[in-house]
């Protein structure tokens, strides 16, 4: 068992029995479930919408090379710059170079899971550049020095009392402020930061090939402010976020809003097509899009695994996952948690180190049912497990265990050998400890159905 698997198990045990965590998470998720149900009802035919969306993403990924070049051509025509970053290090260094060129000391950024993936904040801070998260949930997490808990709602595990206490400790405001006041406190603090920052960094929800633009979706307006005051806008995105056309947004914007937060449409939807043009009153002097690979082309090359790249990061799979519900986002210890993280992380990073994420699932299939782009999530978990076995990441004792199972299952004679008492004894010795202290073991019948059937005749 690897270190990461050990830690995961230990943390799972701790979180799963933490009743305070359970209470908060059950509350937050019940809100999400209600929103999800309402969101589904907004479609006249949600199944057709999901299938259509899957087809669009299929087309985008099958032709990704062509579309990415089309995006670059159209975006650079208007003076935008495109950087192709092979991996996290190249992306980080590209950002740092831009900061040095602009002599930037402060960055404001909007919520972006890809920036978590490349560990951007810590890197910039180590290089003496201040980074301020402007999304309220991310701002809360930054104050608490914690990574985001959920890909859409970074602080969903914190109650209003937790946030009030955090603000009291870190920002010196009165204890016990209500949510409306806490929001105003954050708003006031952040207003100055937008004005002072030299660079604004955002993520991207969709890369639009035909018009050479990137679409950013948000509820707070912080991405807009992060790209309005600073003179330089850096947008970082995984290469898979591509849509062939701006016209595809009329399906994807409502899909993302409905599945992500039960809304008709998210509050602010912006399309950035480059720096300030000659005839425009304002906008950043410079806009750079960093296209990040970081293992995505490896996944793309696998025809079965490829569909995981259709993900639009709506968070629905996290919300419906009973494992996530019991262990929470932090237990995964990876930027992407829940079912998407369980499939993607072993593929993007390292199967040997992260396969436990694909095994930590009861395969209930709720994720597959919830996905707006119809990714067969639980089938992909099974594929990862198979890959792990084929690539020899399993222990010899486990391999032998399944070999023994196979021998027994091929032989009715073996299965009938030994009475119930012997089987109870053997199973309790082999599995008793693993079955745990919180459950009684099932009891073997003295004779199997097959044996009893013979006697009946």
């Amino acid at each position: 068992m690897g270190i990461k698997q050990d830690t995961f198990l230990r943390e799972s045990r701790r979180k799963a029995s933490d009743m305070d965590h359970r209470r908060k998470i059950n509350f937050s998720l019940s809100q999400s479930h209600k929103a999800f149900r309402e969101g589904q009802l907004r479609f006249s035919n949600v199944e057709a919408a999901r299938q259509q969306a899957k087809n669009v993403k299929w087309k985008a990924l099958e032709n990704l090379d062509k579309y990415l070049e089309e995006f670059e051509k159209n975006f650079t025509l208007r003076g935008g710059k495109v950087i192709w970053a092979q991996n996290a290090q190249e992306a980080r260094e590209a950002v740092l170079k831009i900061c040095r060129d602009k002599q930037a000391k402060k960055i404001v950024k909007s919520k972006s899971m890809v920036t978590e993936e490349i560990h951007l904040n810590k890197f910039l801070e180590d290089n003496l550049i201040e980074v301020i998260e402007t999304d309220l949930g991310e701002y809360i997490q930054q104050l608490a020095d914690e990574p985001p808990y959920h890909i859409v709602a970074p602080a969903m595990h914190k109650s209003r009392e937790d946030v009030a206490q955090l603000f009291h400790e870190k920002l010196n405001v009165e204890a016990g402020l209500p949510p409306e006041q806490l929001t105003l406190v954050a708003r006031e603090k952040l207003r100055e930061e937008y004005r002072e920052a030299e660079i604004g960094i955002t993520g991207v929800n969709f890369i639009l090939a035909d018009i050479g633009g990137v679409a950013v979706t948000e509820n707070e307006g912080n991405a807009r402010l992060s790209t309005s005051f600073p003179q330089t806008h850096i947008a970082i995105t995984g290469i898979e976020k591509l849509l062939p056309s701006v016209d595809d947004l009329d399906l994807f914007w409502p899909l993302l809003a409905a599945f992500g937060s039960g809304q008709n449409i998210t509050v602010y939807n912006t399309i950035f097509t480059g720096p300030k043009q000659k005839n425009e009153p304002d906008g950043p002097q410079e806009m750079i899009v960093i296209l990040l690979d970081n293992g995505r082309t490896k996944v793309l090359a696998d025809p079965e695994a490829r569909e995981i790249l259709y993900c639009i990061r709506c968070g629905s799979c996290l919300n419906v996952c009973p494992v996530y519900q019991n262990i929470g986002g932090h237990t995964y210890a990876t930027p992407y948690s829940g079912p998407i993280g369980a499939v993607l992380t072993p593929l993007l990073e390292d199967l040997g180190q992260y396969k436990h994420l694909s095994y930590a699932s009861s395969l209930c299939g709720s994720c597959t049912d919830a996905c707006p782009v119809r990714i067969n999530l639980h089938k992909l978990l099974l594929d990862n497990r198979h890959k792990a076995v084929v690539e020899n990441y399993s222990s010899r004792s486990e391999k032998f265990g399944w070999y023994a199972w196979r021998k027994a299952s091929l032989s009715r004679t073996i299965m009938n050998m030994a009475g119930g008492n012997m089987k109870n004894f053997v199973i309790s010795k082999l599995f008793g400890k693993l079955w745990g202290d919180d459950r009684e073991l099932p009891v073997f019948a003295p004779k199997s159905f097959s044996q009893l059937w013979k006697e009946r005749d």
Binding site: L9, R22, W405
Partner: protein, 237 residues
């Protein structure tokens, strides 16, 4: 009508009585029941663990053991769902046969309502029950209404819906032992929500779920029992 029964490995070994109750109900409604005692397991445990090359010979044998049957009925949504939806992948060199085989395979409650067109099994069982939608039955086989229709006709039984009836119980095969703390927490939430409905029984189509929940209930000494739908429908006559 001739019906072959598929007795899942864990029903064979742990709950043979449920197998006999299923035969009893099928015979009541005019089925001639056949059982091939050579059958052992559909192969799902190895497949779910990633050991597809160990699964394949077991799946092949299973298909052979039940090859001649027009109708095959099993007291398990999980096994039926696996054969229907995954045998094509497992038996990649015999895909047409695998798909065809899946078409003749039915979970017990869907067989009663959809094929035999029965909703009243003539059973009696007093008490308050809540039904648990086993994941294999619900999502792999799309079974939702059939068990409820059948249980609604059981004399003396009051059915109450738990708010999380569709949430996974936490068994998931080897997940239950490899990730025991998560498995227990999931089971715990199911049991507590079931008890909150005031139910005396949790009923489901799958012994895999029920034995996991039952293990937890017995450890805690809670006043709720697990029952398989086959056993309920065979009660009182």
């Amino acid at each position: 009508m001739q019906v072959s029964v598929f007795i899942p490995c864990f029903v064979d070994q742990l709950f043979p009585q449920t197998g006999f109750n299923m035969v009893k109900v099928l015979e009541k409604f005019g089925c001639t029941v056949k059982y091939n005692p050579n059958q052992t397991c559909c192969g799902q445990p190895a497949f779910n663990a990633g050991y597809w090359s160990d699964c394949k010979p077991v799946a092949s044998k299973f298909m052979n053991d039940l090859a001649d049957a027009e109708y095959i009925v099993a007291p398990s949504g999980s096994c039926v769902g696996f054969v229907r939806n995954y045998y094509e992948r497992v038996l990649e060199d015999n895909q047409a046969a695998a798909v065809n085989f899946g078409k003749g395979l039915f979970e017990f409650s869907e067989f009663l309502t959809n094929v035999l067109q029965i909703t009243d099994a003539g059973a009696t069982r007093h008490g308050v029950a809540t039904y648990h939608d086993a994941c294999g039955a619900l999502r792999e086989c799309r079974i939702k209404e059939a068990p409820r229709k059948l249980l609604a006709q059981v004399k003396g039984l009051e059915l109450r819906e738990a708010p999380d009836c569709e949430t996974c119980c936490g068994f998931g095969g080897t997940f239950a032992v490899k990730y025991e703390p998560i498995s227990i927490a999931m089971g715990e939430q199911k049991v507590l929500n079931a008890m909150n409905t005031g139910a005396d029984f949790i009923i489901s189509t799958d012994w895999s779920c029920l034995m996991h929940l039952d293990g937890y209930i017995r450890k805690k000494g809670y006043p709720i029992q697990t029952l398989h739908i086959v056993d309920v429908l065979a009660s009182g006559w």
